[in-house]
């Protein structure tokens, strides 16, 4: 893969930095990758080669590119970090693939003009990101350079509807102001070329979930290295249930450079602990956005109240005595019928979240909900997967993935799209 033609542009209401990406070892078409932001933040956006490098290295590896060439100087700390991050990804997913070579000139110094220390974070309005902000507010005095000042809100990753994104921006602006952060919308297409294929994958969005999300966020952060020196990515999982995931404490910090540190924040806090932090804070309760069903968003309504994520969050708030204090969800109660009808537990981490709700639900006297949760947990354990899923599950859980590795070795296949030219 070659990344070339790095450039800055001014568009109607936005500033953009972009580059041309040319694939060399697969027949994917050449495309442009970009990062954009509103004119108000034009001075903060930089045509930083690190942004494009980090945005492209994981897709390059995923599609079997042998090298990634960028014809600019890059930070050797980032180069070293990408070697480590891709080694972890290779160990998890591509054990028989050669390491991808990153070809670039190495910077011998840090940039001459240093950005004053300034901290940002990725701000979705969900429990994890609010918890990151809350922890930061509790531990860092406001005058400390690492007290978070900016919240980055990204369009083009999990969301692709501009109108809906604007609704989200409008809804988060007041709470950002109240909490003392500047909301910075970022528009990017770094995931778009892979999104459709990823959605069609048997494990929907597997590439995003398990490989790319941390790098994608870090790439956006690097595009703002003129403004920020440290950026936090809120952890999704907690250390008790740390499986492989595309945003991970073993990955995200390695997307740092000498002048921009990427932090993976909150790994030591459970989902319940984070929800408690947020609930006790108060302000964010009215602005929570946990629902991934973004196509159902309407002005003022960002949680459907019917998906597994919403229900799990509502249950947690219920146990904390906070569900009736928020208008973020369509209802201020949860019924057992809703749980039985709508909750489908799909992995061990989610299962653990529900396990941890049983005790607190019993303590508040909601035996109806305890029974419903236990039934859904039992269904997860008793689910009848396809024979392929059974083999895969057995391999993942008991064989350390060795069956898949053996298959890959024998048949020279791995999880790649069918348009891989080398096959």
């Amino acid at each position: 893969m070659k990344i070339e033609n790095l450039r800055s542009e001014q568009r109607d209401t936005r500033s953009r930095v972009s580059a041309t990406v040319t694939w060399e070892d697969c027949d994917r078409p050449r495309h442009q990758v970009y990062f954009e932001t509103d004119h108000a933040f034009a001075d903060s956006l930089s045509c930083n080669p690190h942004a494009f490098l980090v945005a492209c290295v994981v897709p390059a590896m995923h599609y079997g590119e042998r090298r990634l060439l960028i014809d600019t100087e890059i930070c050797p700390e980032l180069w070293d970090g990408l070697l480590t991050a891709t080694s972890w990804l290779r160990h998890w997913f591509y054990p028989h693939q050669e390491p991808i070579r990153i070809e670039a000139k190495m910077r011998s110094h840090l940039p001459a003009q240093r950005t004053p220390e300034r901290a940002g974070f990725f701000f979705s309005g969900g429990i994890d990101s609010f918890a990151t902000l809350r922890t930061n507010r509790l531990h860092f005095p406001l005058e400390h350079p690492w007290s978070i000042k900016d919240g980055l809100l990204a369009f083009g990753l999990e969301q692709d509807r501009p109108d809906i994104f604007e609704l989200v921006v409008k809804s988060l602006l007041p709470v950002a102001q109240e909490l003392g952060i500047t909301l910075i919308p970022v528009y990017t297409n770094i995931y778009l070329p892979y999104r459709e294929e990823d959605a069609a994958d048997e494990d929907r969005f597997r590439f995003w979930k398990f490989e790319f999300q941390g790098a994608a966020l870090a790439a956006i952060a690097h595009a703002f290295a003129r403004r920020l020196t440290v950026v936090s990515i809120a952890a999704t999982l907690d250390l008790h249930y740390l499986g492989v995931w595309g945003s991970h404490p073993l990955l995200d910090p390695h997307y740092s450079s000498g002048d921009l540190r990427i932090r993976h924040d909150g790994i030591a806090l459970s989902r319940v602990a984070k929800t408690k932090l947020v609930a006790e804070w108060g302000i964010p309760l009215q602005h929570l956005r946990v629902c991934n069903q973004y196509r159902r968003y309407r002005p003022g309504v960002f949680n459907c109240g019917e998906c597994e994520k919403c229900i799990r969050t509502m249950l947690t708030l219920l146990t904390l005595g906070a569900l009736d204090q928020t208008n973020s969800f369509p209802s201020q109660d949860v019924s057992d019928e809703l749980i039985l009808k709508k909750v489908n537990i799909h992995d061990d981490y989610v299962e653990s979240c529900y396990q941890h709700l049983i005790g607190p639900l019993a303590e508040i006297g909601r035996q109806d909900l305890v029974r419903a949760v236990e039934k859904r947990i039992a269904a997860y354990h008793n689910r009848k997967p396809t024979w392929k899923q059974r083999v895969k599950h057995f391999d993942d859980k008991y064989m350390n993935g060795n069956v898949a590795k053996m298959k890959s070795l024998v048949f020279h296949k791995r999880q790649r799209p069918s348009n891989d030219a080398r096959q």
């Binding site: 050797p76 700390e77 180069w79 070293d80 070697l83 480590t84 080694s87 972890w88 160990h91 998890w92 190495m106 910077r107 011998s108 110094h109 840090l110 220390e117 922890t135 531990h139 860092f140 005095p141 005058e143 400390h144 350079p145 690492w146 250390l239 008790h240 740390l242 404490p249 073993l250 910090p253 000498g258 790994i267 030591a268 859980k397 008991y398 064989m399 350390n400 060795n402």
Partner: protein, 416 residues
């Protein structure tokens, strides 16, 4: 636990920073802990509360202290990191409901006033891991880059199980100074009694990175970053099934949490296997002549008999450089020598990857015609895996190697 009376002292030949540690929830006596260095580096030693905080936190956790109070401002990033580090340590080593130590200290609201230039150090034992990390750093970072290693830190007082004679340490300083000079780093000796807080070996295994990081924080007057060389590679580090084996107290999930805003701690060189690292050292003559790996004798002369020495000698033999080094008493590995080495059963994480360290040598040994040694390696590994001891041992090996120990767990849950 209270950490008080932080102070700087000097006796002419050495500079020292010290603090008084008072235990509150166990009946351990009041102790003085210190970090010392030679007078040459007295300007580099700082009475940094972070050094004592990081050095004391895991002994406090191990002895169930409810709090750790330090009457100084501390970096909020370090406080956060210590909460995460303790959470990992509890998850790996202790019961799930063990209370974490509550850190009571004022939070710094600004960065430290001094604007020292960025400077990176490396914990430098003279072992394969640290020599290779230094070599790799030279390959990856231009000398002018702040991340290019400039100092090698050698600690006296950390490995109390090995040779603790001061004269042995001084000999090591002299020997490793040659390597340091060649690599254009300063060798900085540090003396500490931090382990006197709790000398339990198990605690040392889980707190290695904390001890090293504490020393680094004591040198925050000089360093802005420090590398801890990984003692394993990614496949070994990824084994986090705590029912099977405990991760070591220096781990990429752990070490960076001992960082503050003004001092970064990196877990370095984890992408290299043991053979990769040995290969890097093999190509560097002055390092090759001064390798220090011996378990019982470190930092003294390598005994050439212990498992670590023999494994290293075997790797050097496979790379055809054992004959070129004076670092070991012999220039060959005989069948008898290799047969006499005990390779631990795979019940600990370390043993598991030692297994891989031997296996990756087999192709090279084959090229060298050392089928005698290959036979011994395979026999030893198969012996502790049980191939020659019946179907039960074979099943146990299968369980360990391919089933993550789950068969043993299933049996335990069914039959107790």
């Amino acid at each position: 636990m209270r950490i008080e009376t932080l102070r700087s002292e000097g006796n002419g030949t050495r500079a020292r920073v010290a603090a008084t540690v008072t235990w509150e929830d166990c009946d351990r006596p009041v102790q003085e802990v210190y970090f010392e260095t030679e007078a040459d580096f007295s300007d580099s030693l700082s009475c940094n509360p972070h050094a004592f905080l990081v050095g004391c936190i895991l002994p406090a956790l191990n002895n169930r202290e409810k709090r750790l109070f330090i009457d100084a401002e501390i970096c909020p990033e370090l406080r956060d990191g210590l909460f995460t580090a303790m959470s990992w340590i509890r998850h790996w080593y202790y019961e799930p409901n063990r209370e974490l130590v509550s850190i009571e200290a004022k939070a710094r609201s600004t960065l430290p006033a001094t604007t020292r230039p960025q400077r990176t150090g490396l914990f430098f034992s003279g072992g394969i891991d640290s020599l290779a990390a230094l070599r790799a750093n030279r390959l990856h970072f231009p000398m002018t880059h702040p991340r290019s290693i400039k100092d090698g830190i050698l600690i006296y007082g950390q490995n109390i199980e090995s040779d603790t004679r001061p004269e042995t340490f001084q000999r090591a300083v002299r020997a490793l100074s040659d390597v340091a000079q060649d690599a254009q780093i300063r060798l900085v000796p540090i003396y500490t009694n931090i382990r006197s807080l709790d000398e339990e070996r198990r605690l040392f295994d889980m707190s290695l990175a904390a001890i090293l990081s504490a020393v680094a924080h004591a040198l925050a007057g000089r360093l802005t970053g420090v590398s801890i060389s990984s003692s394993d590679s990614i496949p070994g580090l990824s084994l986090l099934d705590i029912t099977f084996a405990k991760p070591y107290g220096s781990h990429p999930l752990l070490d960076p949490n001992y960082s503050s805003v003004d001092l970064r701690v990196w877990h370095d060189a984890m992408t290299l296997s043991r053979l990769d690292k040995t290969r890097l050292v093999a190509d560097w003559d002055v390092a090759l002549q001064n390798i220090k790996v011996c378990g019982p004798n470190w930092p003294g002369d390598n005994c050439g008999q212990c498992e670590k020495c023999v494994r290293t000698m075997l790797a050097l033999l496979a790379l055809d450089v054992l004959k070129d080094t004076k670092a070991f008493p012999g220039n060959d590995v005989s069948e008898q020598l290799l047969s006499g080495v005990g390779i631990k059963r795979p019940i600990s994480r370390v043993s598991y990857t030692v297994d891989e360290d031997y296996l990756e040598l087999v192709p090279l040994l084959e090229k060298r015609g050392r089928h005698d040694l290959i036979r011994i390696i395979k026999w030893k590994l198969s012996r502790y895996r049980g191939d020659s001891e019946g179907w039960r041992k074979r099943l146990q090996h299968l369980d360990v190697r391919f089933l993550n120990g789950n068969l043993a767990r299933l049996k335990k849950s069914l039959f107790g």
